[in-house]
Amino acid sequence: MKTYKEIASEIIAEFELFTDWMDKYNFIIELGKSLPLIDEKYKTENYLISGCQSQVWLYADYKDGRVWFTADSDAIITKGIVNILIRALSGQTPDDIINADMDFVNKIGLREHLSPTRSNGLNSMIKQMKLYALVYKTKFESKQ
């Protein structure tokens, strides 16, 4: 299993190939189309992340000491970005998720999606993923 740092470097390397914003967004759109979808039963108000122009549902499962995310959105670019976040964080330990610096988001030029107007969405997503990790850490790891 690759670490968060290793995956983040891979993502940065992949995005470095794009010299043109159009290619980059086409890639994100493709990632959006291939996002492993959330189980329909979790596409409810409870799993909806608020604060975005598009709707994002995020679900997290805990298995073998690691947190696994699935998600969906009604907007493709949002889905593509969620896909990238999931690739970086899904399958990591709660501690690694909580401590992930998420610097790669800036490095791949998606900083604008972190600007206050748009990004309530992206910020909320990252926050929600870390929150899930914290909840699972508290729930399962404190018992040991």
Partner: protein, 408 residues
């Protein structure tokens, strides 16, 4: 294109339009959110702060007299613009939102009782919904909503039904910011007045496009923002009939709005100062005067004709793209087009349009009930102003075709 408009000359007055974004010439189609400012408005602001800045009305010194005179000249300019009877019927506020909040607060204090109703329409901006919700909640009054038809026009039979004995005020928009619908407010006001119901008009989306005559309309209140009519942000207007404004209690307390203050009792100043507590936004009010002159020199007739041509052109071009759905197809519209591009989420389209240098708005446009009515995730909204061109519309159409391919 109609040649009473010298587009080159007009565009030259807007320095912001000359820039490039992401290496592409800026195309600004978000005018229903805020318009850009002509150089003369920017100069008026700079001029105020470099030559006559001072606090107004109370100062005996030279600068204060100059600033006071300029401020009050703006009031007369606004009075003339909307043909109010008196300058003191013009209250300066921070914007249309504050104007509506002022009336909602003061009117409900005096006139609203449990069991009464306030009537609004289903196409209101949140700023003409929430203040009334708050007022009605406080007074245990009901908020009633006039439904709209599929094309974005008002349902008049339902409107008439809601104007019953419980209704104490009708608050309705002149123009829908999402749909572009121009409401027949003269007819609406007449219907309400036939039942002795006063009417507040939210004119935020009308004032840069349509000549407004408050005496002819006979509306009781008319509200608008400066920043949507080429003036600075942070200044707005509440027009109210003299008698109506005199009957309302003050909104905020402070300096300027008082006649005498003791710890036992304060007597309030007369109109318009009763509603202008604290130091007003002098610089921006002076900027507003300059924006009004800009509009008047072009003339509402010319503006209306020119913008209508842009609307018709953009609508016909959009309709040639397969799967485009225009939201809001009322026969009378300002230069606002909300639309959807097939099943593409407005947010997705908005991001790519932005990358291509085209500023539109996507989302619910602060009219969530309108978006819910059409059961859509939001719209892409292009809204045109006096400086926009058919060539810019062509660029947007080409961009939309590209976007369709990207998301196919």
């Amino acid at each position: 294109m109609n040649h009473t408009i010298d587009l080159v000359k007009i565009r030259k007055q807007f320095p912001i339009l000359e820039q490039q974004v992401y290496g592409k010439p800026l195309i600004y189609f978000d005018n229903a959110a805020t318009t850009q400012k002509p150089q003369r408005v920017i100069d008026a602001l700079t001029g105020y702060y470099t030559t006559i800045n001072s606090n107004i009305h109370r100062g005996v010194h030279y600068l204060s007299q100059q600033a006071t005179a300029a401020f009050e000249e703006s009031r007369i300019t606004v009075k003339d613009l909307i043909n109010a009877r008196f300058a003191h019927e013009i209250i300066f506020t921070r914007g249309a939102t504050e104007s509506i909040n002022l009336v909602a607060s003061s009117f409900s204090k005096k006139f609203l009782k449990p069991g009464d109703t306030v009537v609004i329409s289903a196409m209101e901006h949140h700023s003409n919904i929430v203040p009334w919700q708050m007022a009605c909640e406080e007074k245990q009054a009901g908020l009633k909503v006039i439904p709209i038809h599929e094309d974005g026009t008002l349902n008049f039979p339902e409107l008439e039904k809601l104007l019953d004995k419980t209704c104490k005020l009708l608050a309705i928009t002149h123009v829908s910011n999402t749909l572009g619908t121009i409401n027949d407010i003269k007819r609406i006001i007449d219907l309400a007045h036939a039942q002795n119901i006063p009417v507040l008009i939210d004119g935020a989306q009308a004032i840069s496009h349509i000549n407004v005559d408050v005496q002819e309309l006979d509306c009781d209140f008319y509200c608008f923002s400066g920043h949507k009519m080429y003036a600075p942000m942070g200044v707005g207007v509440l027009y109210g009939k003299e008698q109506m404004l005199n009957e309302l209690p003050p909104y905020q307390g402070g300096g300027e709005m008082i006649k005498n203050v003791t710890f036992e009792k304060t007597t309030y100043n007369e109109l318009p100062f009763k509603f202008e507590a604290g130091t007003p936004n002098v610089g921006d009010v002076i900027g507003l005067k300059e924006a009004i002159s800009f509009i008047q020199e072009i003339g509402y007739d010319n503006i209306g004709k020119f913008e209508h041509e842009l609307l018709i052109y953009a609508t016909s071009q959009l309709q040639q793209i397969e799967d485009v759905r225009i939201i809001g197809t009322a026969p009378d519209k300002t230069s606002v087009i909300s639309f959807l591009l097939g099943n593409i989420h407005p947010y997705d389209a908005g991001i790519i349009l932005d990358k291509l240098g085209i500023a539109v708005r996507t989302g619910h446009h602060c009219t969530q009930p309108v978006i819910d009515f059409y059961k859509i995730p939001g719209t892409i909204r292009a809204s045109f102003a006096i400086y926009n061109t058919k060539e810019e519309i062509d660029t947007m159409i080409a961009a939309l075709k590209k976007i369709k391919m990207m998301f196919a």
